[in-house]
């Protein structure tokens, strides 16, 4: 590669109080190159792309674009220079149409008609079918991502940054996205691709830069490096694969019969006629694209959402009308996906957050009076056993990193010896070694006779932990199938296929 690199970063450093997010980071991206940025949570990937996108100003170091100094002071400047970014979390207004949403993000947006034309043209060219007139609230997660991608493509970027784009897609949709990205790359658009799904990176990317604790620890060519080697470079130590022993499932613990319920939130997904059994010692993995009823299913099991009588039974007893506290007393525990604000109260201490769900089972509530001493001891136990990195149980939940808080939240439920544990995205945003520890803890529970429902969008995780696998699609649950021997294609079809996407007309 003798041509001028499209983007050349040298010695970028950015420190926040108490932490150096990026330390002397250098990398180059050639035009048309698909470059992966790898690293655990907190490795500094986000900070680095925020600097490129003009959201954060580096303390030291230089950026060059096509050989010219590049110092974007705000995202607008970065966009003008040809940098587009698709964020992991969408910034779309549910109540507006696709075209209106796209117009909002543009300087000098053209007239609606002209814009709709452009949207159609781009979506045709890149195989991203999308009607400009549809209301975003009605779109699936995959379709919303297309809105974000088209928004970027309309500005004809030279560099497209994608932050964990496949976490909301089915395998088929991922394949289509990759075709789009490959077409862009063939046209000379460079792509900076952030992900921790190593097999995807091996399939898509030309080169990879690996970050650990803010420093570049290595470059590699993904096609020639095994996923395991890349993972170990990210973590900096050998990985342990969760172990499970063969076992025979016991009695039926959870039985759902024709579970149907409206979603409590306006743009939520109703549950439709879900019937399934989970036996003691068994792990039921539930896959599916985000927003297909995962939150609602967890709420219906935890007791946050009550359903009609007879729909939810636990050990043969109808619990449909019981709230979270009586269900916990019986042994039904759960850990929702959203850590801050749902599984934990951000501004409260870990001791108080331990009290949040453990009051009944850990005997912390004595006739209404709370035993804070015992809650503190329980919090310390979680911190120790689950290796939660924090100065102590008096610290606020929000002061913990995402992965550490997740370990705390899962640990809090696991240590209460559940008979049924329901988890949603148990390792979302958790680094590889912590994720392995959490999965191991879940498998150990199953080993001891707990029935588990693991809801996740990470298929590798589901395959690693589940005995049986089912997929949620539009609030319906597919019939569960033994997880062993399922192929990715079969799983994709269970998840609802490609949601009407088509391949780019290359």
């Amino acid at each position: 590669m003798t041509q001028t690199p499209l983007l050349d970063l040298s010695g970028l450093t950015k420190a926040y109080p108490g932490v150096v997010a990026n330390d002397d980071v250098s990398l180059t991206i050639a035009p048309g190159e698909v470059h992966a940025l790898l690293g655990e949570n907190g490795a500094g990937k986000s900070t680095l792309v925020k600097m490129i996108y003009g959201l954060v100003k580096p303390d030291a170091g230089h950026m060059k674009m096509f050989g010219q100094p590049f110092t974007p002071t705000e995202p607008r400047a970065a966009r003008a220079a040809g940098v587009g970014m698709v964020f992991q979390h969408f910034s779309l207004f549910d109540a507006l149409s696709v075209a209106e949403n796209i117009a909002l993000g543009m300087e000098n947006a053209p007239k609606m008609n002209a814009l709709s034309q452009q949207i159609r043209a781009v979506s045709d060219t890149y195989g991203l079918p999308l009607s400009p007139d549809r209301v975003v609230g009605d779109l699936s997660a995959g379709e919303r991502q297309r809105v974000e991608i088209i928004r970027c493509l309309l500005q004809e970027p030279k560099l497209l940054i994608m932050d964990e784009p496949t976490s909301v897609l089915t395998p088929q949709e991922v394949e289509i996205l990759f075709k789009t990205l490959r077409k862009l790359s063939a046209e000379g658009t460079a792509i900076l691709y952030i992900s921790h799904k190593l097999e995807e990176i091996r399939a898509l990317c030309d080169s990879a830069t690996i970050l650990r604790l803010g420093k570049v620890v290595g470059h590699c060519v993904p096609r020639e490096t095994s996923a395991r080697d890349m993972a170990e470079m990210m973590v900096g130590k050998l990985l342990q694969t969760p172990m499970r022993a063969g076992k025979t499932p016991g009695d039926v613990v959870l039985e759902l019969k024709n579970l149907s319920a409206r979603s409590p939130s306006a743009f939520g997904m109703p549950l439709r006629d879900i019937s399934v059994c989970v036996q003691a010692g068994e792990v039921l993995g539930i896959g599916g694209v985000a927003g297909n009823g995962q939150d609602e299913l967890l709420a219906a099991l935890s007791g946050e959402m009550l359903t009609a009588p007879g729909m939810v039974s636990f050990k043969g007893r109808d619990v449909s009308l019981l709230g979270p506290t009586p269900r916990r007393s019986m042994g039904i525990l759960s850990a929702p996906e959203e850590r801050l604000g749902h599984a934990a109260a951000p501004d409260m201490s870990l001791t108080e957050n331990a009290m949040l769900t453990a009051a009944a089972r850990e005997n912390l509530d004595r006739g209404g009076m709370l035993d804070w001493g015992a809650a503190r001891i329980f919090a310390e136990k979680i911190i120790e056993i689950f290796d939660v990195r924090t100065p102590g149980p008096g610290n606020a939940a929000r002061s913990l990193s995402g992965g550490n808080l997740q370990k705390f939240v899962i640990g809090r439920e696991v240590l209460q010896r559940p008979d049924l544990l329901v988890v949603n995205q148990p390792t979302w945003g958790v680094d590889a070694s912590a994720a392995a520890a959490i999965r191991q803890a879940l498998l150990d529970l199953a080993e001891n006779g707990t029935a588990l429902v693991v809801i996740s969008q990470d298929l590798d995780e589901l395959m690693e932990t589940s005995d049986r696998f089912a997929a949620l699609n539009e609030g319906r649950l597919s019939p569960p199938r033994p997880a062993q021997g399922l192929t990715v294609d079969e799983i994709g079809l269970m998840m609802g296929g490609a949601h009407g996407m088509e391949v780019a007309h290359v």
């Binding site: 935890s302 946050e304 959203e338 749902h342 599984a343 109260a345 501004d347 108080e352 949040l356």
Partner: protein
């Protein structure tokens, strides 16, 4: 450039220091205000804060501190429970009036029968009246999703009309020579909320306020309900996940704040005020909102804030009569206190950074 940066943890030091800093800032800027009005700022501040406690006539003013402080603390304690959970009862003034009317009504109904049971029955009726008035916005909220701020506030004006009607009609003193207002309960021994120790201002309302402070403290730190209140305020979804029933919590919090406001009204009408009159209410229900926040929604803080607020009331009256400060200036002064408190409160969660600008 100055910018604000979120602290990883709320600062405990700032949380404790904020009320003190707010009082100091209010003294300073209030002094400037008084100076601009042509008064000696130091003398004005001294009159407001020093005179009632240690001045020439402090023997008269000190009991006033308890008399004015007690209803403020009693109401503010009740409000703080709701405020902590994000339930905004702004209508304590109305609940205070209804408590007074219900309580006085029972007392007047028994007149002139003497009996030990009269006053306790009045207390129950007062609490019931306040509770009932607070249940209206509470039930409308849980049944129809109405905004409790608006409904409870509007009901204050309904209660005021009720008060006017009562003092001119049903409860009017038949031996009052046509003057508006009820019989004076101070002259009806069984119904009189007299000083427990004569001349101290220490009546049953003061006792009730002290009990409320201790009760709220234990509730919030030790009891399941207090924890439910705090979690709901911090993270409603997490509260629901932990098993808190939001509907029940609204009813309980609104009910408790109405009950305590009703009690405050009863103790006032049967004690210091003595009778139901058109202008019986003097705004304790609204001032208590300031007291609740000035005390950082903490029971002990509210106790101190209630006394401080009572002090500025009494000191403000003295400053008006002695120095000729306009009443409006005193109100501005009290408003400043809340303003500085809320403004400085931000530093509990944020810190000031001097330095270069940076997006995000």
């Amino acid at each position: 450039m100055i910018r604000l940066e979120k602290r990883p943890q709320p600062s405990r030091a700032f949380s404790l220091a904020t009320p003190l800093l707010a009082v100091l800032a209010t003294m300073f800027f209030g002094g400037l205000l008084f100076f601009a009005l042509g008064k000696d700022p130091l003398a004005s501040i001294q009159t407001i804060f020093w005179e009632p406690l240690f001045g020439e006539f402090s023997f008269f003013y000190r009991p006033q501190l308890l008399i004015k402080g007690a209803p403020l603390v009693l109401i503010a304690i009740g409000l703080s429970l709701g405020f902590k959970a994000g339930i905004w009862n702004i209508g304590a003034e109305g609940q205070y009036i209804m408590g007074a009317l219900f309580g006085a009504g029972v007392g007047l109904a028994f007149y002139p029968v003497e009996g030990f049971y009269v006053f306790p029955l009045m207390v129950l009726a007062g609490a019931f009246g306040g509770w009932l008035w607070a249940m209206i916005p509470a039930l409308l909220k849980v049944k129809f999703g109405t905004n409790e701020i608006l409904v409870s506030l509007m009901l204050v004006y309904v209660a005021e009309q009720f008060l006017a009607s009562m003092s001119l009609g049903l409860m009017k003193n038949p031996e009052g020579f046509g003057f508006p207002g009820s019989r004076n309960l101070q002259q009806y021994a069984s119904a009189h909320n007299a000083d427990l120790i004569a001349g101290t201002g220490m009546h049953w309302g003061v006792v009730a306020a002290m009990i409320a402070v201790i009760f709220a403290y234990v509730l919030l730190t030790k009891h399941r309900l207090g924890f439910a209140i705090r979690v709901t305020g911090e993270a409603p979804r997490a509260a629901k996940f932990s098993g808190v029933n939001p509907t029940r919590l609204v009813l309980i919090c609104m009910g408790m704040s109405g009950l305590l406001a009703g009690l405050a009204g009863l103790f006032e009408v049967s004690g210091p005020a003595g009778q139901v009159t058109i202008d019986f209410n003097v705004g304790y229900g609204f001032t208590a909102i300031i007291v609740a926040f000035l005390g950082r929604l903490h029971p002990v803080g509210i106790l101190l804030a209630g006394l401080l607020m009572a002090l500025t009331y009494i000191g403000g009256d003295i400053a008006q009569s002695k120095l000729g400060l306009p009443a409006a200036a005193i109100q501005v002064f009290q408003g400043m206190l809340l303003f500085f408190l809320l403004a400085l409160d931000m530093f509990t969660n944020y810190r000031l950074r001097l330095g270069r600008t940076e997006a995000a």
